[in-house]
C-alpha cells in the first residue's frame, strides 16, 4: 500500500494519520509534514499509526527529528500502533521517548 499521510492541528495538538509503509522515501513526506507544523504552537504530536504496516530506520529518525525540531517539551503519542511497529520501537529503545496509547486524548 502506498504511503499516505493526513494532518490536522487543533487544541495545541498536531494529529498525523499515517497509512502504508514508512521507509526512506515516504519518511521525506512525513518529515515535510512535521516541518509544516514545527512553527505552530503545539504541545503534542499525535501519530495515528493504526494503518501503518512498517516503519524503517528512516521513519524512526523522523520521530527523533520531531522532538528535536519542535522541542523537548513536545509529547509524542503513538496511537494504536501495529505489533510490528511496537516491536521495532522497543528493540531500538525508542519506546522511552514516546507514549503508546489506544486513543488520544486518553
Amino acid at each position: 500500500m502506498a504511503f499516505q499521510i493526513e494532518s490536522v492541528v487543533e487544541d495545541k495538538a498536531a494529529r498525523l494519520t499515517l497509512h502504508g509503509e514508512l521507509d526512506s522515501l515516504s519518511a521525506r513526506v512525513f518529515q515535510t509534514e512535521v516541518e509544516k507544523i514545527a512553527n505552530q504552537d503545539i504541545e503534542a504530536l499525535v501519530l495515528d499509526l493504526e494503518d501503518l504496516n512498517f516503519m524503517s530506520s528512516a521513519g524512526l529518525r523522523v520521530l527523533i527529528y520531531s522532538k528535536q525540531k519542535i522541542g523537548p517539551k513536545l509529547a509524542i503519542y503513538i496511537v494504536k500502533p501495529q505489533e510490528l511497529i511496537v516491536d521495532t520501537l522497543e528493540k531500538t529503545g525508542l519506546q522511552h521517548s514516546v507514549t503508546i496509547v489506544d486513543q488520544y486524548p486518553a
Partner: protein, 706 residues
C-alpha cells in the same frame, strides 16, 4: 538548502538512467551527500573498477557503473551517484587486474566485492537463517544512518583500575530458554539483563566479536550429535565497520546499528562500560583456498602478509594474516576504531592475538610497531582502554613485553596459569601468587598494575566450574577427535571427572570457585570474569567451544538456583572489591610505610605473622594491605588481610596485630557453608580470637581490619 547551491552536487554523467559525477576521495566507503551517495575505494594494483548496485535482496544488480579514468585520484576511485534509495541499496565493486598469485595479485572481475569500509553488511541478517548459496554477492555492503539520539551519553571513562570486566558472547548470554527474555540472543535482550549485571556488581561488559562474521563459515554436521557445527564465537571478520546483523532483533530490518547503539546508551546509563573484542589479525577469507569476499580481490598484496611465493603467512592459525603495519591497512584499523569510539561510544577494545599487530610485513616482530604506537597516541582513542591479547599463533609471546607506549594493558596469561596451578595444589607457586596479588610488578614494573588484566577463565578454555570438574579436555563434539583445544589447562577435577552426585566433591568444587573469585577480586590490576562463571556454568569439559550454537555456549540461567551459593558469593566479592580502594591501586606497592601508619603498604605473612614461606614446598601465603596506603596514601581504607591455603589440611595462621582500637573482622571464609562464607560490606562480624585464625584446607580467608 544551502548545499543545493554547491556546483559539485549535480550530475555530470549518465548511464543506464543512473546519474553520477566524480566523487570525493575521502572518506573511504559510501557516504550520504546531498542528493546522492559518495563512493570511494582504494586499490593500489587494480587497473579498472566498477561500482555494482543492487536493490536490497535482489538476485541481479540494477546497474553497473565503471569508474571513468578521470574519477581515479592516485589509487582511489571515487564517484557520487544521485537519486539512490539509501535504505534499499546494496552495493559492491568489481576490480580488474592481474591474477598472478606468485606475485601476490588475485584480481578477478567476475566476483563482486564487499567494501572494506561498509557500515553494514547484508546477507546474514538473521542468525543461522539459511542463505541462498547461489547468491552472486553473498556479503552485501549497505549504508546506515550514522545519526543517533545519544542524548547526553558519552563514554564513561571509568578509571581502568576500578573496572570489573565481564566477558560476554552476545548470543550465548541470553539464547538459552531459561533466560526468559523477549528477543533471545540479541543486543536487545542484553538490555533486559542490565539489572542483573548491576546486581552482580560488574561495571564493564567485554563483548566477544560483534563485527559482521558468517556463522555459516566452515559449517558442517556434528559427528557426535548430528547437529550443525557453526562459527559461533565469530573470530573471523567479514567487515570491520559493521555490527553483526544476526545479533540484532532488528537485523532483518537493517536496524542493527540503532539497536546496538541503544544497548550501549542503556549500559552507560547504568554505569557499565562497553569494551569490544576486536579481531584485526586475520579475516574470513582464509588461505589461498578460501573465498574471495573483499580484501583479497581489492588489493591482496596490501591487505595480507604474503610469503615470497604469494601464499598467506598464517600467524593467526586461521589461514591468513592481516598486513597491519602496511600504512594503508594501518589507517583502516585506525579509521575503524575511531569510528567505533566516536559513533558507537565504545569505551575500550581488546585486541585478539595482538602480537600480530606488532609484526612487520614479512612477519618479523617490530621493536616500535607503528600501528600500536598510532593507536596509543590517537587523539580520538585517547580515553579508550586498549587491551592486548599479547601473543599469537605464530609463537610470539609478549606478556610483559608488549609494546605499550604507556597505554596498553594485557590479558595476563601468566596470572591465569599461576592461580590455576596454585589452586590445584601445585608446589613452588608462592612467589608467583605474591606477584599475582600485587599486579605482577616483575612483568609490569614501569607500567603499573593496571597493565595486568587478571583472569582465571575466559571464553577460550575451561569455564571456572570446569576447571575444578575436569582433568582433561573433552572436545569430541568439535569433530576433531579431541585434538583441538589446549592441553595445558592446569585443572583438577576434585576427584571425579565430570558431573557427580558426590556431595563432598561438589562442595569442594564450589569452594575452589570461591577461592578463585576471591583471589581474583583482591588482586591488584583489572579483574575479568567470564559470563556465567558467577553461577557455575559448565561446557562439560569442552575447552574450545568455538563451533557450538547450543547449551555448550548458552548460559543456563537455571544455574542461578542450582548454584545459588556461587552466585551469592560472586556478587558480594565484586562488591567487596569495589568497596575497598586499597585493592585498586594505580601504582605498584613500595613495600614500605610512606604514609606514616606504622605498617608498610603491603606485607607478606604465612602461618606465622610477618614470616611468609616462599620455599618450594609451601602452599600458604597471607598478604596484608594497609588501608592508610590506599590509592598511594590519598584515601583512608580498612586494612585487608588475605590468607590463602592450597594445602589440603586446615592450618592456623597467626594474624598480624592491628593498631590500638582496631580489630579483625571476617569478610570471607570459603571453608564455610553458604551464608557464612561471605559477609556484606560493613556487616563483617568481629573475630573472637584476634591472634590467629584456622584457615581450612584449600580455603581462602579475607579479614578486614577496622
Amino acid at each position: 538548502m544551502a548545499t543545493d547551491i554547491r556546483i559539485d552536487y549535480y550530475p555530470t554523467h549518465e548511464q543506464q538512467g543512473i546519474k553520477f559525477r566524480r566523487g570525493h576521495v575521502l572518506p573511504f566507503g559510501a557516504t550520504m551527500v546531498p542528493n546522492g551517495i559518495n563512493f570511494s575505494i582504494y586499490s593500489s594494483e587494480a587497473i579498472d573498477c566498477t561500482l555494482v548496485l543492487f536493490e536490497r535482496g535482489e538476485a541481479q544488480p540494477f546497474a553497473e557503473i565503471r569508474f571513468p579514468e578521470e574519477f581515479r585520484t592516485g589509487n582511489v576511485y571515487s564517484m557520487i551517484v544521485f537519486d539512490l534509495d539509501y535504505e534499499r541499496l546494496e552495493y559492491g565493486y568489481r576490480m580488474d587486474g592481474p591474477f598472478k598469485p606468485e606475485e601476490g595479485h588475485r584480481f578477478d572481475k567476475s566476483i563482486i566485492l564487499s567494501d572494506p569500509y561498509a557500515k553494514a553488511i547484508g546477507g546474514r541478517d538473521t542468525w543461522l537463517a539459511e542463505p541462498n548459496w547461489d547468491n552472486i554477492y553473498p556479503y552485501r555492503s549497505r549504508l546506515v544512518f550514522e545519526d543517533f539520539d545519544w542524548e547526553n551519553d558519552h563514554p564513561l571513562e571509568t578509571p581502568i583500575e576500578d573496572l570489573v570486566i565481564y566477558e560476554m558472547h552476545v548470543r550465548g548470554f541470553t539464547q538459552h530458554p531459561s533466560s526468559e527474555v523477549k528477543n533471545p540472543g540479541t543486543f536487545a535482550a542484553i538490555r533486559s539483563k542490565i539489572a542483573y549485571l548491576k546486581e552482580l556488581g560488574i561495571n564493564c561488559v567485554e563483548l566477544m566479536p560483534i563485527y559482521e562474521f558468517d556463522e555459516w563459515e566452515n559449517s558442517r554436521e556434528n559427528p557426535v550429535t548430528g547437529g550443525l557445527i557453526v562459527n559461533f564465537w565469530g573470530y573471523s571478520t567479514v567487515n570491520f565497520f559493521s555490527p553483526k546483523a544476526g545479533y540484532a532483533a532488528t537485523g532483518k530490518f537493517g536496524m542493527q546499528v540503532d539497536e546496538l547503539k541503544t544497548l550501549v546508551k542503556e549500559l552507560h546509563r547504568n554505569g557499565i562500560e562497553v569494551m569490544l573484542d576486536v579481531v584485526f589479525n586475520h579475516t574470513a577469507e582464509g588461505d589461498h583456498r578460501g573465498h574471495t569476499i573483499s580484501f583479497r580481490g581489492i588489493d591482496n598484496k596490501t591487505y595480507y602478509m604474503l610469503t615470497p611465493e604469494g601464499y598467506y603467512f598464517n600467524f593467526s592459525g586461521t589461514g591468513n594474516t592481516l598486513n597491519c603495519n602496511n600504512p594503508v591497512v594501518r589507517n583502516m584499523v585506525l579509521d575503524c576504531l575511531r569510528y567505533w569510539a566516536a559513533d558507537y561510544h565504545i569505551d575500550g577494545f581488546r585486541f585478539d592475538l595482538a602480537a600480530i599487530l606488532g609484526r612487520d610485513q614479512n612477519g618479523a616482530p617490530l621493536s616500535n610497531p607503528p600501528l600500536l604506537e598510532s593507536l596509543a597516541y590517537d587523539p580520538i582513542l585517547a580515553k579508550c582502554k586498549l587491551v592486548a591479547e599479547a601473543w599469537d599463533a605464530g609463537g610470539l609471546y609478549q606478556v610483559g613485553s608488549f609494546p605499550a607506549y604507556g597505554r596498553w594493558a594485557e590479558w595476563n596469561g601468566k596470572y591465569r596459569d599461576s592461580v590455576r596451578k596454585f589452586l590445584k595444589g601445585d608446589e613452588g607457586l608462592i612467589g608467583e601468587i605474591a606477584q599475582c596479588i600485587q599486579g605482577w610488578p616483575d612483568l609490569y614494573y614501569y607500567r603499573g598494575p593496571t597493565a595486568s588484566i587478571n583472569f582465571i577463565a575466559c571464553h577460550d578454555g575451561f569455564t571456572l566450574y570446569d576447571l575444578f570438574a575436569y582433568n582433561e579436555k573433552h572436545n569430541e563434539a568439535n569433530g576433531e577427535h579431541n585434538n583441538d583445544g589446549g592441553n595445558d589447562n592446569h585443572s583438577w577435577n576434585c576427584g571425579v571427572e565430570g558431573e557427580t552426585d558426590d556431595a563432598h566433591v561438589n562442595q569442594l568444587r564450589h569452594k575452589q570457585i570461591k577461592n578463585a573469585l576471591s583471589i581474583l577480586m583482591v588482586s591488584q590490576g583489572v579483574p575479568m570474569i567470564l559470563s556465567g562463571d558467577e553461577m557455575g556454568v559448565t561446557k562439560f569439559g569442552n575447552n574450545n567451544t568455538y563451533c557450538h550454537d547450543n547449551e555448550l555456549n548458552w548460559v543456563d540461567w537455571n544455574l542461578l538456583d542450582k548454584n545459588a551459593d556461587i552466585y551469592h558469593f560472586a556478587r558480594h566479592i565484586t562488591r567487596f572489591r569495589r568497596a575497598h580502594p586499597v585493592l585498586r591501586s594505580r601504582t605498584h606497592f613500595q613495600h614500605r610505610d610512606y604514609a606514616g601508619s606504622g605498617y608498610p603498604d603491603i606485607s607478606f605473612h604465612g602461618t606465622q605473622a610477618w614470616h611468609a614461606d616462599f620455599s618450594a614446598s609451601s602452599r600458604c601465603l597471607a598478604v596484608m594491605l594497609d588501608g592508610a596506603h590506599a590509592k598511594s596514601g590519598t584515601i583512608q581504607d580498612d586494612t585487608i588481610y588475605i590468607a590463602m591455603n592450597s594445602y589440603w589440611d586446615a592450618l592456623y595462621y597467626e594474624l598480624p596485630q592491628l593498631p590500638n582500637g582496631r580489630s579483625w573482622h571476617l569478610a570471607v571464609n570459603t571453608d564455610m557453608p553458604s551464608g557464612e562464607d561471605i559477609y556484606p560490606v560493613g556487616l563483617e562480624p568481629k573475630l573472637e580470637e584476634q591472634g590467629r585464625f584456622l584457615v581450612g584446607g584449600r580455603s581462602t580467608v579475607i579479614l578486614v581490619g577496622k
